[in-house]
Structure formats: structure tokens, C-alpha cells
């Protein structure tokens, strides 16, 4: 029951929040509840057997019998760390938005908890329709978070976000339904939406012919996930969504929601359509590499710091795609690790940008300058996170990026040679930004704050340090002892790489 508990407790939390009588204690309650959720996920981590590639803690009950749809959840090494990332980030987000979210507090926290349910459900669902439900459900709270608590152009941004994602989802739904109709072949006549039954399908593939079942299904799924990731050239919703989203929205979006896309490549696309994946992997390698370079170049010239980080996400997600489609142990392990890294370091960057925005109400890089003298502790933390983002060794980013590059080298030295330019460009755009914001003589904002007692800049508060501390610890922990984290996923990744043609999962737990 632990997985169902994880998925649905936040929904219950949302309910508690909505009916909670005292407005001024809502935040405390929400924080407490989210911590409980995190503790439960830690208990789940304790129960997880890292040596096994099986789908663990499985729960399965019939939901809609007529269509073979069941409530079917389970966890393996591929989803485990992403689940942990989700439960870990939510309390941090709640604490980070303590002051910045000041209207409709109840609604905000309720939306956040519903979103948590949807995200966890997407990672844990092993039934296609159940998965689709959670996948779509995740859009709605996000839509509101951007649309209600967002910036000036929030409506434009949130609708763009919605249209893009929906466009992909529709194709995916069609593909799911098509595959459900194929399942009687492998289940002995009964239609099924179980992902495990999908795995058994050997959908015919003819190399070079586009209009064949596997190829079409592959592209339908891949497109839906590619938009979510987002992969170049489907990325333009992301910068707008990030800029307009409130800080907690950006953190969730970058930290977890983008990973839903990359995760699904591992859970759905690669094992379901192995031949098509292999045949068309060059396309994804190409757009992945273009994304790395393009995202980095465009990030470099952004005048808005949040947009800069958003484009850096495009670049980082390009790395993850390259790692995934390298389809070897280095690439996939690195990509999975980079998903966590990106959640932590980009999440931290958005938090930091939110903190400075709360003080200055500006994200325009050119108005800053000399901030390091005014906010020394903030600067130190920002620089540490920057180092993680540009993958300096001994931080988490290095492990992921290095393994991905190694994997891509094994795929093709040329891919690695282009992808590695991200190492240089990443340093260039991040350090240039750091230089313009923190170094040099005092800029407009710092000067203004120095003259105006009311708007004086205060360094990080204790609450803000508490928000950032776990992220900083993880940056070094994951950089120095990657095995502490990777050991949970190696067995599953290994299983996937070795058996991608004919993938199946053994079940352990209640519902097997």
C-alpha cells in the first residue's frame, strides 16, 4: 500500500488544506504534511531492493474491467530516484514560497499537492490509461499555478504551455488506444492497458518505411514526451512558462515535470519500440546535440536571468536526451543521474533567482552588478550552484555530464565532439551572467538599495538558508559519492540496456 499512500496522500492533503479553518497556519500545515510525505518516501526507499531490477511494491486491482484497465502501480530503479526527487522538492518549495505567494494561499498549496499526486502517479503508474490520467492531471494544477500566481504575461505563457503539451498528449492517447487494441494477441483475447502486456507486444517494424505500426507509434509517443522535455525545436513554451511562473512553479516545472518526459522515454519509448528507437536514434541524437548547443547559445544572450536559466534547461535536457538515446550503460545511467542533477541545480537556481526577485523585483541582468558586495552569502551559494550547473568535478553535475558524454562517445565520437562544446558554452553563459550580476562596480539596483533604507538589500534569512542547505548538501554528496544514489538504479538500467529487445519486468509485491 505504500505506493498508493505516496500517490494519494497529497490528494488528501489538498483536501485538508482547502477545509483548514485558519488561514495563517496553512503554510505550517502544508509544510508539515509535505515533510510527512517525504518521510514516507524515505521509508519506501528503505524497503526498496536496489539489487533487483524487478518492479517492486506492486499493487494491482481491476479498475475498468471492460477495457482491461487496472489500477496498477509499481516502482523500479528507473522511477525510484525521480519519486524521491519529487517528494524531496515539495517541502522545499513550500518553505521557499513562504513570503512570495501572498494571495489564495490555500488554493496554491492545494494545487501543489494535487500536482504532487499527478507527478508521482505518472512515475509509478504501470497501466497506460492510469498513466495517461495522471499525466493529464498534472497539467491542470500547473496551468493554475502559472495562470494565477504568475507574472504579467502569465495567461499567454500558461496557454502556450497547455497547447503544446496537449497537442502531444492527444497523439499519445491515440497511440495508447491503438496499442490496447493490439493486446488481445498477447493476453489471450482480453483487451488490456497494462504496460507489462504492452511490453509483450512485438509490434512489426520495417526499417526505412515510415507508415508502419511501430514507427508511427514510436513517433506518437516520442512527440508527446519530446514536447514535455522539451527537445529542440519544441522548446519555446518553456522559457515563457518559466519566466511567467512563480518561483515554486518554475522549480516544480524544471525540477520534476520536465523529467516526466525524459523518464517516459525510458519507461515507454525505448522498451516498447526498441527497433524504431534504434533505427531513429540518430534523429534524437541530432536534436539532442542541437539542443545542447542552441540552448547554450541562446541562453548566452538573454537579458532576463530567469530566461537564461530556462534556456540553460533546454541545453541540459539536450544532454539527457543524448544520454538516453546513446542506449548504453554510460549514457542511460548518466542521463538518469543528470535528471536528478538538473532537478537539484536548476531548481536551486530558480529558488535563488526567486529570492533575489523578492528583494529587487527585477530579473534584468543589466540592472545588476556588484551584488557580491551587498549579499556575500547569497553570492557564495549562487556560485556553488553555478559550479554544479556547469559540471565542475566534485559536484553532482560533473558525474552526469561526464557519463552522458562517455555514452555519446561510444555511440559516435562525432556526437560527443559536438556535445562537448556545451562544456565550454555552459561555462561561458553562466559565468558571464555571474559576472554581470555579482561582480564589477555597483549597478543600478545595488546603488539604489544603498541610498534607500527601505529597500536595503538583506542577505539570506535563516528560512532561505534552510531552503537551500539540503540542495547544497546534495550537490556535493552526489558529486563525491555518486554510488550512494546510482546503486539504486544500476540494476534496472542494466536490465533495460541488456534486454531492450524483448523487455519485461518481474513483479514483486502485493499485486503480483
Amino acid at each position: 500500500m505504500i505506493l498508493s499512500g505516496l500517490i494519494f496522500l497529497p490528494l488528501l492533503f489538498a483536501l485538508i488544506i482547502t477545509v483548514w479553518p485558519q488561514r495563517n497556519t496553512v503554510r505550517h500545515i502544508a509544510l508539515g504534511l509535505s515533510v510527512i510525505e517525504f518521510v514516507i518516501s524515505l521509508a519506501m526507499l528503505q524497503k526498496f531492493d536496489p539489487a533487483s531490477s524487478a518492479l517492486q511494491m506492486v499493487e494491482k486491482t481491476t479498475w475498468i474491467e471492460r477495457f482491461g484497465i487496472s489500477y496498477f502501480v509499481g516502482i523500479d530503479g528507473i522511477s525510484l530516484m525521480l519519486v524521491m526527487l519529487t517528494t524531496f522538492l515539495v517541502p522545499i518549495i513550500i518553505l521557499a514560497s513562504w513570503n512570495s505567494i501572498d494571495k489564495k494561499i490555500k488554493g496554491f498549496h492545494a494545487a501543489l499537492f494535487i500536482l504532487q499526486t499527478a507527478m508521482l502517479g505518472s512515475f509509478l503508474a504501470m497501466d497506460a490509461i492510469l498513466f495517461y490520467t495522471f499525466w493529464e492531471l498534472s497539467l491542470i494544477p500547473m496551468y493554475f499555478i502559472v495562470g494565477i500566481w504568475g507574472g504579467a504575461r502569465r495567461i499567454y505563457a500558461t496557454i502556450k504551455f497547455f497547447i503544446y503539451t496537449m497537442a502531444g498528449s492527444v497523439l499519445m492517447l491515440l497511440a495508447i488506444i491503438f496499442m490496447m487494441r493490439l493486446t488481445p494477441e498477447v493476453t489471450g483475447g482480453q483487451i488490456s492497458a497494462s504496460l507489462l502486456d504492452f511490453y509483450k507486444l512485438r509490434i512489426p517494424f520495417i526499417a526505412g518505411e515510415f507508415f508502419t505500426a511501430q514507427t508511427l507509434l514510436f513517433f506518437a509517443f516520442a512527440l508527446a514526451f519530446a514536447i514535455k522535455v522539451p527537445i529542440f525545436p519544441l522548446h519555446t513554451w518553456l522559457p515563457d512558462a518559466h519566466v511567467e511562473a512563480p518561483t515554486p512553479g518554475s522549480v516544480i516545472l524544471a525540477g520534476v515535470m520536465l523529467k516526466m518526459g525524459t523518464y517516459c522515454f525510458l519507461r515507454w519509448v525505448i522498451p516498447l519500440f526498441p527497433e524504431a528507437t534504434e533505427h531513429y536514434s540518430w534523429i534524437f541524437m541530432a536534436v539532442g546535440v542541437i539542443g545542447i548547443v542552441y540552448g547554450a547559445l541562446v541562453a548566452m544572450v538573454q537579458p532576463d536571468v530567469k530566461k537564461l536559466v530556462a534556456y540553460s534547461s533546454v541545453s541540459h535536457m539536450g544532454y539527457i536526451i543524448v544520454g538516453l538515446f546513446a542506449m548504453n550503460a554510460y549514457g542511460v545511467n548518466g542521463a538518469l543521474y543528470q535528471m536528478l542533477n538538473h532537478g537539484i541545480s536548476t531548481g536551486a537556481l530558480f529558488l535563488l533567482i526567486g529570492m533575489i526577485y523578492e528583494r529587487t523585483h527585477s530579473r534584468e541582468i543589466s540592472k545588476y552588478g556588484g551584488l557580491a558586495s551587498a549579499l556575500p552569502i547569497f553570492t557564495i551559494i549562487f556560485v556553488i550552484v553555478t559550479m554544479s550547473s556547469i559540471a565542475v568535478p566534485m559536484t553532482n553535475g560533473f558525474i552526469g555530464e561526464f557519463l552522458i558524454l562517455l555514452g555519446s562517445y561510444q555511440y559516435s565520437p562525432w556526437v560527443a565532439s559536438i556535445a562537448v562544446s556545451g562544456v565550454v558554452l555552459g561555462a561561458a553563459y553562466m559565468l558571464w551572467m555571474v559576472k554581470r550580476i555579482f561582480f564589477g562596480p555597483a549597478g543600478e539596483i545595488v546603488k539604489h538599495a544603498a541610498h534607500d533604507k527601505e529597500h536595503a538589500l538583506h542577505d539570506l534569512s535563516v528560512r532561505e538558508l534552510v531552503v537551500l542547505a539540503p540542495l547544497i548538501v546534495l550537490i556535493f554528496w552526489m558529486g563525491l559519492f555518486p554510488n550512494h544514489f546510482m546503486d539504486y538504479s544500476k540494476a534496472s538500467v542494466d536490465h533495460l540496456i541488456k534486454n531492450k529487445m524483448g523487455y519485461s519486468l518481474v513483479l514483486t509485491g502485493e499485486g503480483k
Partner: protein
Amino acid sequence: MLNHELLIAILLLSPVVGFLLNGLRFRSKNYMLAGSIATAAVVVSFVCSVLLFLQLLDADAEHRRLAVSFFEWIAVDKFKINAGFVVDQISVIMILIITGVGSLIHLFSIGYMHHDKGVTKYFAYLNLFIFNMLILVLGDSLLTMFVGWEGVGLCSYLLIGFWFTDSAKAAAGMKAFVTNRIGDAAFIIGMFVLFVTFGTLNMHELNALAPTVLDSSWMGAVTIGTMLLFIGATGKSAQIPLYVWLPDAMAGPTPVSALIHAATMVTAGVYMIVRLDPIFIMAPNTMMVIAIVGASTAVLAATIGLTQFDIKKVLAYSTVSQLGYMFLAVGVGAFGAGMFHLMTHAFFKALMFLGSGSVIHGMHEEQDIRKMGGLKKYMPITHFTFLLGWLAIIGMPPFAGFFSKDEILWQAFSSPRGHWLLWLAGVLGAVLTAFYMTRLMALTFWGKSRIDKSVHPHESGLSMTIPLMVLALLSVIGGWIGIPHVIGSALGNIPNMWEHWLEPLITKIPAVAGEGVEHGDSSLEIILMVVSVVLAGLSAISAYVMYTKKEGSSAKVAKAFGPAYELVNKKYLVDEAYFAGIINPLVNLSRNLWYYIDVNFIDKATFKIADVANGGGSFVKALQNGNMQQYAMYIGVGVVVVLSFVLMR
């Protein structure tokens, strides 16, 4: 005696403790406390290094290798890297230099930085640098070395931009990091090539697996792998074409220039090649490129050094030039000579940088040598120690630089991979070096004083002059452990201890019949030695005359060269060319990508598609009314409709 594992742990962790102690109280202005903590931390490491050195001495020559592995760092599939460290004949020299010279420079910093507001932070960074540098030299695999490699780059970035309120200094730090990253990117791919070829990145294993057959092609794995590693080295060790960051790096505090940008970090590239000499030897084309790049850098940087007026810039170009010598050495297969010059250079260049720091300190932050002159009488200790460093760098016997530089020149001439042109370039570099260093001495310490009346130069305090004296001593005697055979035998069988010590780890170039000069050809060696010393001496004398006796003659010479002088004075406009040819176009390209592709193409296209698909945009319009319930309803209806159609048929 402590076991070596514990010693290595203390060696590495002592600077980390210092870093944390100072880093956590970074606001403190107590320079004595901060300086003492930091210096003590490095001295502890130095003691460990000495003890490790003694342990190595005790062992017999074949077993001089103390290895330790603390934990498994990365393990994915076949790719396994330990946090493993090795002290052997080569790395022990490096840790002695790093912690020894490092201690002196920490001590010097106490005096030099005492008035600075950020002094505690400064010492924290300095300790962090020592830690990373130790990882770089002790790492047992290329990847652990790379950890330190990037780590020192980070510290260099932080220390160059230490006075960050100055935009130019912050920019110099950034330039250093990004330029280094270009090299690092090549280094990463180089590691992949070697890993895929040999199945390991452990340097001991790599060296054991080094092929026995020369890879004389240009596209073979060994050639490409080593070439990429060398590109990495051109970044870290400031060689053509990536040297441009080092002169700018002088924006950092002067002791930093001494420690990072002269004695230790910038030599990492040379060290890396020496570590992997069995593999580099098998790639003669790479070696040839290394030798040519090294020789060209040595000459090019020396010419720029002739025309600079900033005391630190002269030393910076001199460093680039001297590093070129080291690459020339390893390029012709004289790995031992390269390491030897690395060490003597660490002594005399650290000495001269600290000396320049003492001058700048005594001159109240003045760095322009046109505003100096006659400092000899105000700063006798600084002058005398600087003088010894000067004699060492211009290669006068019996100072340290003579032995190492002579060894390199002889090898450049006589090695099977050598060439008389490389030797000639080396001699030309030596002549230029003698000239610009003498010019520096003359303009700074000798001749008439051109010091502004408001400035009252003074000698520095003991914490600064003691390190100068120790380094001066080392600059004199440091070369005596590597006395060439020709001189050693003439003086009565003085052994070349250096060569002997390194022998088990230094691979010899496989002799090719008919190439190179027989090593026993001692008369030729002596002739060449005399030629280079005499030429350098003449060059020094002419510079002395020009800058002390006949004032104004230098301006005439500069005028005579006209545009050529201008070009050299402006550093061959290399920075400008990089900006015009690479950086600006890239930034423009990025702006255009953003504007034309993201904003004007993809976005417009998507909305167009949405428009067309939904009959003239009514869909988009309806969506944009902001009515949320309506949209939620769409999803519901959509799902139901599609489901019922497909499933129920």
C-alpha cells in the same frame, strides 16, 4: 613511521581543513589568524610530503610507489574510477614543490594581503587551490587528475577575480575559466579515446598497456588521444593558441600569480605529459606538434615580453615562454629535462613574482616599470634576491636555470625527435629572455629613479622577505641535483641525481638508426652550451647598456622597428582577433538564433498551425479568453469522445 595511507590522507585533507576554517568565517579581517591557519595547513602538508619522500628514498628504486585508494568514486559498467592517489618519483617532486613553495607563498601573503578586507576569504581560496593541485598531481587516473585539473581552474577563477568590484578583473577570471574549458573539453574527449582504446583511465595501467608499436599516423587512436590531451594542456599551461588568459590572469593578487600562474598550476600540462610518457612516445606526430608549439610559444611570448611595461605582464609572458621550453623538452622526448625545468622554474619564477609583489607593495600598488628605477637602494633584499632569480632565468651558470635550460636545448638538438631548428628556436628564446629580463631589472632596480615624488618606496617586512631569501637560495642551488654528465665528469664524477631518481619512470625514445646525435658526443654538447650562454650573456649586456647607460636608445630602437614594434607591443592583436573572429560572431549568431528562430519562426509557426487546424484561429481565440473551466471541459469531452469512438467501434 606513519603509514603512507594516513600520510596521504593528511596531506590532502589538511588544506581542506584550512579552507573550511577560513571559509566559514570569511568575513573576518584578522589577517594574522587567517594567514596562520592557512599557512599551518600547507606546512602540515609539506611535512607529510617530506615524510613520503623519505619513505620513497627508503624503498628500492623499483618499488618507489606508494598508492592508496580511499573509495570507489564512479562505477558504471566497465568504467570504474577510484578516489585513488599515488606518490612516486614524479608526483613526489610535485607535492614537494606545491606544498614547499606553497608554504612560502602563504607566508608571503600574510604580509602582502594584511590590509585587504577579504583576507580570510583569500586564504580560504588559497588552501582550496592547494587541495585541488594535490589531487591533480596525485590522482592515479586521468579522471581523478581531471578533478584537480578543473578544481585548480576554479580556484584560479576565484583568485584572479578576487577584487571583483573591478569589472576588468572579474572579466579576466572569467576569461581564464572559459579558455581553460576549451582545453578541458578536448581533454575529456581525449580521455574517451584512451578509455575506448585501452579500457582504463588508470595511468599506471595505461602506461603498462602502452603499445609497443609507434602510431606514426595522424588519425590513429593513440595520436588523436594524446593530441587531445595536449590541447587540454595548451589551455591549462598557456600555450599557443590558448595562452591568452595567462597575461590577463595577472589581475589577481601577486602571490597568486606566483603560486598558481607560475610555480604550480600552469605546469600541470607538462606534468600530465610526463606522467603518460610511454603513451606519448608512441605518437611521434603528437610529440612533434608539442615540440613545435612549445618552441613557437617560447619565442612568441618572449618577443611580447620585450615590449611590456607592466612588471607583472613581463613576468607573465616570461612564464608563457618558459612553459614553452618545458613543452619543447617533452616534445623531443626529454621528459626528465622538462620536469627539471618545471622545478627550477618554480623556484626562480615564484621568486621573481614574489619579488615583483614586494616591489608593488613597496611602491604602493604601482606596476608600471617606467615609473620605477633605482629601487636597488630602497629595497636591497628584494633587489638582491631578484638578481639571483634573474641570473637563474637567463641561464647563467651555475644558477638553477642554466642546468635545466641547457639540458632542454641539448636534447632539442640531439634527441632522435629533436631538430636543429628546435634548438635554434630555443636559443633565440634564451637570447630574448636574457634581454627582456635584463630590461626589467634595469628599469626596476637600476639606473636613475623615475619614481613619483609622492611615492616613498620601502623594503617589505620579514614575512615577505624570508620567502624571497629561501626561494633565492633554491634558485641558486636548485639546479645542482641535475648537473649534466659533461660537466659532472669534468668536475670529478658528480652524478646527475635528478636523472637517476626519475629513471625508472621515464621512458626513453626508441633509438632510430641514423637519427639524432650520439649521447657521448660531449665536445658538441659543450660547444652548444657555450654558444647559448655567450649569446644570452651578450644579449643581457646590450640590454643593460641600452636601459641604464644610454637612456632614450630604447625608444630609438622601438621607432626603428616602427609598425613591427607596435604589433608586438599590442601582443600581435591576438585577443582582438579572437574577439573579432570568434566571440563577437558567436554572440551575434546567438542573438539572431533567438530572434529569428525562437521568436519569429518556431513561435509564429506553432500559432499558425494552431490557427489553420482550427479554422481561422477561433480555437486560439476561445482559449485565450482565460476561462479555465471551459478548458477543463474540453479535455474531458475530448477524452470521452476519442475513447468511445475507438474502443466501441
